[in-house]
Every structure is written in C-alpha cells, then in structure tokens.
C-alpha cells in the first residue's frame, strides 16, 4: 500500500479559523482522492471550510538536532519580543 498509496499531510481551515492547520495524515493514490479521503476522515463534523493536502515526501522539516541553533538565541533577549505594546481591544486574533 505504501508504494501505490503514498502518505499525504492534511491541513484544514476551520469554520472560524484564519489559517489552515495541520490535522493529520492519510494514504491516497493521488491528490484528488486525498481531498476526498480528507473530507471523509477529518471534516465530517463541520470542522472545515478548506482543505489542503500535500504529499508528505514534499515537506521539508527542521531537524530536532538544530533546535538550539534555530530557536534558542532569542530567549535571553527580551527586546526581541513585541510584548511591550498595549494592544487595542478590537484586535482579537493577534
């Protein structure tokens, strides 16, 4: 199955969501069937308004070994974090 039905990663934009979120993965023979399958596996309770599927093989991920090099430095430098600005009430999604 793994050869004929490659793995796809599924991203769903929810009813009130602003962005597509990764929800899981599935197997399908091609992109169209992956969308069909994603609809059946992940969206049957009105979860979504949009589906993206992408072959798992096409995703490049950061390596856990690079964690400190990529993510650590900013932690000790509070001036890098934009937390000093009072935000207006109306901005709910930031």
């Amino acid at each position: 199955m793994s050869k004929e039905w490659p793995l796809w990663e599924v991203f769903i934009r929810s009813q009130h969501g602003l962005a597509h979120k990764h929800v899981g993965s599935l197997h399908a023979p091609d992109a169209e069937m992956a969308i069909n399958n994603a609809r059946d596996v992940y969206t049957r309770r009105n979860e979504g308004v949009g589906i993206w599927v992408v072959r798992a093989a096409d995703i490049v991920s950061s390596s856990p070994g690079d964690k400190s090099a990529l993510f650590d430095p900013a932690n000790s430098k509070v001036y890098r974090h934009p937390t000093f600005f009072p935000m207006p009430e109306e901005l709910k999604n930031l």
Binding site: M1, W5, L26, H27, A28, P29, D30, E32, M33, N36, N37, R39, D40, V41, R44
Partner: protein, 259 residues
C-alpha cells in the same frame, strides 16, 4: 374519477416515498457490513460515512411515509417489522457486498441514478419531498463524485483491479434497468408532479455512466441488455431475506426493545 386499479394519489405518494426510504435503508445496511473490514482506513471511514448519510435519508423518507399512511405505524416499525415482500427497494441495493469492486460498482450505479432522481425531486410539487430531496442531494453529490473517482482509478489501475471492476460491471448491469422502469405508482406521482417518471432519468444516467466507464477504460454492457425487475413490487432476490433477518433480529426477538 379514475380506474379502479389505479392507486389513489395519496396512497401512491406514500408508496413512492416508502420506496425511496427502502432504497436508502437497505443500501445503508449493506454498507455498514463493511465497517471495520474496509481495504484501508480511509475507505472504511468513507463507506461508513456514506452508510450514515443513507440511514439519515431513510429516516426522513420513512417517517414521512409513516405520516402519509396515517395508520399509526412509525419509521421504526417500517424498518424493523416488515417482511421482504413488503419492502419495495430496487434489487440493485440488496445485492451482496461481494468483493470491493462489487460494492463500488453497486454504489456507483446507484449513486448516479440517485443523484439525478433527487435532482428532479428537489423540484417536487410536494414541499416535504422537495425538502428531503434538497437535503439529501448535498450528500449524494459527494457520493457520486467519490464513487465515480474510484471507478476511474480502479478501472484504469492495475490489470487485476481493472478485471475485477469489469466483472462487477458485467454482473450488476442487469439490476440497473429497474431504476428506469415505471409502474402505476410512478405514473401517478409523476402526473401530479410530486414524483419523477423513472424513464426520464435514463438518458442522463447512461451518459454519466458511459463517460466514467470510458475514463476507467471499462466496457459498458449493451444498453438494451435484459434487465431484472420486481424489487419495486416486493419480489426480491434471495439475498434480502438474510439481510432483514440480521437487521431485524433484535426487534423480532425482543419486541419493543429500546436502548
């Protein structure tokens, strides 16, 4: 007013609506037999989703049919306390699941007919029928898309999947004609616009089926082949009795059981 043998409009509508419910109920029962046995997780979930869509539609039709009968029978009694000869589903939907190709082809043939039927019924002069049809049509639009996609992929797949699909097409073809042959009930409901004449759906069905089979490199059997019939009149294949025995066991063994 009308010939003695012609059904009254009211009872014709009840029979017509019950037939629609029977198709959905029996096919739903068949599909649910796959639960946990599908060839892949994705297919397993898709089939059970379709089964749940159909059971929902069956409930809408059968509860309306029970209302129209006006004898106090409920949707549950219609589903669980009728014998095979009192069911008026198409022979196609009661056919055994067989292998996955049989299940898919049965689904494809039915979905296409179901789609065009509901499409016409959503314009019914009976507002309840139109409402149920419009609601069901949303689900069935997806069913027909899914089953058509799969027919193309498996027909145009491996040598084995192509052969199995072709065998299923040849085997189930004789059950498709019944979708397009009307009887007195169909005439009665088509005349006053509550229902649709089955014959009027045939051309659209043929065209879509031919297109998809061709895309799947499959041979379409002869359009004028001999066809089985009788399901709509309560004359069924040997398979329905077994299906009902399983489906109705609980209500038969423990009458009135609730959970």
């Amino acid at each position: 007013m009308s010939a003695p043998s012609a059904p009254s409009t009211h009872s014709a509508t009840a029979s017509y609506v019950r037939r629609l419910g029977d198709n959905a109920l029996i096919l739903s029962q068949r599909l649910s037999e796959w639960c946990g046995k599908g060839p892949a997780l994705e297919e397993d979930m898709a089939l059970t989703n379709v089964a749940l869509d159909l059971i929902g539609q069956a409930r809408l039709w059968l509860s309306y049919a029970a209302e129209l009968e006006g004898t106090g029978r409920t949707e549950d009694q219609l589903a669980f306390l009728r014998d095979a000869h009192q069911f008026h589903n198409l022979l196609l939907v009661e056919q055994p699941n067989g292998n996955y190709a049989n299940t898919l082809v049965r689904q494809f043939f039915f979905d296409v007919g179901h789609y065009f039927q509901l499409n016409a019924l959503s314009q019914s002069t009976n507002p309840r029928i139109a409402e149920i049809a419009q609601k069901s049509l949303k689900e069935v639009t997806y069913h027909v898309r899914r089953s058509s996609d799969l027919i193309v992929r498996l027909g145009d797949g491996t040598e084995l999947s192509h052969r199995m699909l072709q065998q299923a097409v040849d085997h189930l073809w004789m059950y498709t004609g019944e979708m397009f042959s009307g009887d007195a009930i169909d005439v009665a409901v088509a005349t006053d616009g509550t229902g649709v004449a089955p014959e009027s759906l045939r051309e659209q069905w043929m065209q879509h089926v031919a297109e998809i089979l061709q895309a799947g490199t499959l041979q379409m059997p002869a359009a004028d082949a001999w066809m089985q019939s009788g399901g709509k009149q309560g004359r069924h294949s040997e398979h329905l009795g077994y299906l009902l025995a399983e489906m109705q066991f609980l209500q038969r063994a423990y009458p009135g059981a609730k959970w």
